[in-house]
């Protein structure tokens, strides 16, 4: 191992001049995601989406070869930081992308600022992330985007007394805060707010507390990957039969796990930016190609990866292949395009994503469970930032 490294170092030194010439022809993207550990499902989706995009669009943009370097953070933010640092320092990447959870995205932010490298957040959804560095752009979503809209939906449909139940970390707090704010402003009431430990996906005791409060509906946010366990325990406790409805951002009815959730999930109403069932020719093509390559359904995390790659490709075209942080982030601002989830753009002021939010209900289609969209809110900006 060490000998190899020394030999490699020697080779590298020997071909330095050649290497420098070569480097200008390649744009490297460091993809730091969780391939193992708690958030492995997100990593799996992002990797599949990035690979699909590159398969469809080739690896040459504006005369440059695109090279993606995949690193596994093992769902530990410390690792994300070290790997990002190595990618910047050793591999000389022009773009850091991925970041499955908020802590991972935030811990890398100072590096992006210091090295002037674009940090493209493809998954994490806390509102404040993009403010942590002027080099951060996001292609996923923010939790207030969907939480505010589902609060309006609850008010219109006569759900006045709500229990909120969120995972106890930044996105959960974001979801709870924006939902509660919107709901109480419209005359609704949160009768109990419950926080669930992030790393302990046993919901039974919390569900009992929620059931005892007898709400009209239960507002739920759990990170991608935990939705199936939640819905299973929800049904086991008989909350569905007690007439308590589940509403929330779409993380709980994650398309990746939805097919295995069983009929208890039928009728759950969520607001989110992507459903595999989204009715557009582009999405039909996307879902078909994705499932063909991977034998699982794309979820809302996957479009973050797919659109992230698109944003990088288009920004590079615009800069004529210039890949320094300042040119790239400038090119990304205000970029507008059609995604499998519908029309989206990057807000030139906040570098955050502007997108349609859909209200969906879980229904059976051809024997499979899907989030079926029935209402659309166009071009939703992140409400977490508008308020300021």
């Amino acid at each position: 191992m060490n000998y190899l490294k020394i030999a490699a170092a020697g080779l590298l030194a020997g071909t330095m001049s050649f290497g420098a010439a070569q480097a200008q022809e390649t744009v490297k993207i460091g993809l730091v995601i969780a391939m193992t550990g708690q958030q492995a499902s997100t990593g799996k989706q992002l990797k599949a989406a990035v690979e699909l995009y590159m398969k469809e669009h080739g690896d040459m943009v504006a005369g440059k070869k695109i090279e993606v370097i995949l690193r596994d953070s093992a769902s530990v933010p410390d690792n994300s930081k070290r790997l990002a640092q190595e990618l910047i320092v050793n591999d000389k990447v022009s773009i850091l992308a991925g970041f499955e959870v908020t802590p991972a995205a935030m811990v890398v932010a100072p590096l992006a600022t210091e090295a002037k490298v674009v940090e493209l957040v493809m998954a994490a959804g806390t509102s404040v992330i993009t403010e942590r560095s002027p080099y951060i752009a996001r292609t996923s979503f923010t939790l207030p985007q969907s939480s505010v809209i589902i609060a309006d939906y609850a008010l219109k449909n006569n759900m006045k007394n709500i229990v909120t139940m969120v995972s106890d970390y930044a996105p959960g707090a974001d979801a709870e805060k924006s939902f509660t704010g919107q709901l109480t402003a419209g005359g609704g009431k949160v009768i109990e707010s419950i926080k669930i430990p992030l790393a302990n996906p046993d919901f039974a005791p919390f569900l009992q507390r929620a059931a005892d409060a007898k709400p009209d509906a239960l507002f739920v946010f759990v990170p991608s990957g935990q939705g199936a366990t939640f819905m299973k325990q929800f049904a086991e406790r008989g909350l569905d039969k007690a007439g308590i409805k589940v509403i929330g951002p779409g993380d709980v009815t994650d398309d990746d796990l939805l097919p295995q959730m069983g009929d208890a999930v039928l009728g759950v109403v969520t607001a989110h930016m992507y459903s595999a069932d989204h009715n557009s020719p582009m999405n039909k093509k996307y879902v078909e190609a994705f499932t063909k390559a991977n034998n699982f359904r794309p979820n809302f995390m996957s479009v973050g990866g797919y659109d992230g790659m698109h944003l990088i490709y288009e920004a590079l075209k615009k800069t004529g292949g210039k890949a320094d942080g300042d040119s790239l982030i400038a090119a990304m601002k205000g970029m507008k395009w059609e995604s499998p989830r519908g029309p989206i753009s990057i807000d030139p002021e906040t570098r955050d994503i502007i997108q349609n939010i859909y209200i969906r209900k879980v229904e059976k289609k051809n024997g499979q469970l899907y989030n079926v969209e029935f209402q659309t809110f166009n071009d939703v900006k992140d409400p977490g930032k508008i308020k300021k």
């Binding site: 060490n2 990797k47 320092v89 106890d168």
Partner: protein
């Protein structure tokens, strides 16, 4: 006039404390890496604090015979202490802050040692595991202080000794960690070869007999437990300082379990076990996770099983050929054997 027997015993004791040529090569290599491997400093930094962390567990497992599955408790406390001291600008100078973080962990080690030392091996494993779990949950609940599950964000480290900034390439970070590791290793070597260290080995071999020959067993164990906690706290502090970050993960069970693995890979009870284990474990992990980001845990598992199978009864058996080679390289050992043979005549 000393009798030949006493002379031989003294000689044997002294030889333990002497520097072996391979040791010198080992440290020379570690320091040479500052200049020779400038692109690998970030992973080397991780190896350095992991080595220190494993060294601290070796005090317990290898010397005192206490098996712990919750050593991350002290690591975590050290990490949070160092990060909080920097964040709230209580102690700005990293070296001082690191020492303070070690002391905090040591205090915790002292307090919990009374719990851990009750009962036998299984009880100890349970209690140490419990302590780490409790601390993790506390850190999760006191979100206003620790940042909860989001980790402690916004920590800025001041330059080491007011001059050396923690640079992005990790150059200063590695040199800093290595110097700390080396200094603490020297101290550990002194401890291990002192009468105190030898009495620990006696306790490990047979606590009853040790008590019978007048070794205050409990007191010795409390002391070594606190020292081990101090070392673990420093290791955690180094992690927090080099990454400007601390998250709940520092307390995780995985970390304690991985640490035991590191020690087992490197070999228990000779100080270098933790160091060598840390190098092998991290290099293996880094290499495999780059090679196959999705399936590397499988290969790590397979390699560990292979190591144990080759080692048979002693898990570190696979290092025996190297140790034999090391013994051959030691010219003083040959001289000593000759002297011993003369005594016998």
């Amino acid at each position: 006039m000393t009798s030949p027997l006493i002379r031989r015993a003294t000689e044997s004791m002294l030889s333990r404390a002497r520097w072996h040529p391979l040791e010198i090569i080992f440290w020379a290599g570690a320091f040479a890496a500052i200049w020779l491997l400038p692109t690998r400093h970030l992973i080397l930094t991780e190896i350095a604090w992991l080595a220190l962390f494993a060294l601290s567990l070796d005090f317990l497992v290898g010397y005192a015979g206490i098996i712990s599955l919750g050593h991350a408790a002290f690591f975590g406390v050290g990490a949070y202490a160092a990060a909080l001291l920097a964040k709230h600008e209580l102690i700005n100078e990293p070296v001082l802050a690191l020492f303070a973080a070690g002391l905090v962990a040591m205090a915790l080690g002292f307090v919990t040692s009374f719990l851990v030392l009750r009962g036998s091996d299984l009880t100890r494993i349970m209690v140490s595991l419990g302590v780490a779990l409790i601390l993790r949950e506390l850190a999760n609940q006191f979100g206003w202080l620790t940042g909860g599950a989001d980790g402690l964000q916004g920590v800025t480290m001041q330059p080491i000794l007011g001059t050396f900034r923690f640079d992005m390439f990790g150059h200063n970070g590695y040199a800093y960690c290595l110097v700390v590791l080396f200094v603490l290793f020297l101290v550990a070597r002194q401890i291990a070869n002192s009468p105190f260290g030898l009495s620990l080995v006696a306790i490990k071999n047979n606590p009853l007999r040790a008590a019978a020959i007048g070794i205050p067993v409990d007191r010795r164990l409390i002391v070594i437990y606190s020292i081990a906690a101090f070392y673990a706290g420093i290791a955690g502090g180094l992690l927090a300082q080099t990454t400007s970050f601390a998250s709940l993960d520092v307390f995780s069970f995985d970390r304690s379990a991985d640490l035991l693995l590191v020690l087992i890979i490197g070999g228990v009870g000779y100080l270098y076990g933790g160091l060598i284990g840390a190098i092998l474990f991290k290099v293996m992990q880094d290499y495999l996770s780059v090679l196959t980001p999705q399936y590397w845990p499988f290969w790590i598992g397979a390699l560990l099983v292979a190591m144990v199978l080759i080692g048979r009864d002693r898990i570190t058996g696979w290092t025996t050929p190297f140790r034999k080679l090391a013994a051959k390289l030691d010219w003083r050992a040959a001289r000593r054997d000759a002297a011993a043979a003369e005594d016998r005549r």
